[in-house]
Amino acid sequence: MSVALTIPMEHGLLLAAILFSIGLLGVMVRRNIIFILMSLEIMLNACAMVFIIAGAHWGQADGQIMFMLILSVAAAEVAVGLGLLLQVFRRFDSLDIDKANRMRG
């Protein structure tokens, strides 16, 4: 089934790993909730890219189906995350996540 893939799979996986690391770096370094959510998007995109690369490697459609499931997860995550962000902004008048580091606000 699989025609010889001219793009080496290792390079695609390396690209996904680099993107995931960038997103993880952003989640750990940034203290603004908007940037943390954007970095989470980059990480989810890197995960989806791994599925696409694997699906392309074996010439199957399953990778793209997993990509769609990750897409719906990302959409739900962003909707809830941005709702939480609005609540944090109303409560603390700031987007700094360190101001919300106590469980009882």
Binding site: L5, G12, A79, V80, R91
Partner: protein, 172 residues
Amino acid sequence: MIQLGLFYMAATITVVASLLAVTRYNASHALIYLIVSLLGSAIIFYVLGAPFAAVLEVLIYAGAIMVLFVFVIMMLNLGAAGVDNEHQWLQPRMWIIPSLLCLLLLAEILFLLNTSSHALSGTVVGPKVVGIELFGPYVLAVEIASMLLLAGLVGAYHLGRRYLLDMRGESL
């Protein structure tokens, strides 16, 4: 060998745009770079032989999800300070790098559309195969995803309401 060059070029653009998105101080600038990064990944998906995933990436990721971010950034920047910020943000030099990256991506997609499908690597898995698989063996996953989206909808509706703020005094 053409697709190799296209792949590495799109990969470079994606990585550079992601790095710039993570390191910006301004949320709007970061959002623009994030959109460029997602468009770059869409090109990568197309080159890898997944055109349906590439279309979904542009439509849903770079379209719908990023519009959510835009809405929230617009909601959080009200008043005169927001207007000053707009003047500060819309400087022409700020658009140079995203425009350049987008133009490179546009050149890539035009080149891909002008060449035959031999430029793609491996086997192309089209939308038809994906749809048959999706509503055949994977129909349970579709149901689970729909429930997840419903839960996200209810959660976002609940969290977006203002009455949570009114209760902060007594029941927090």
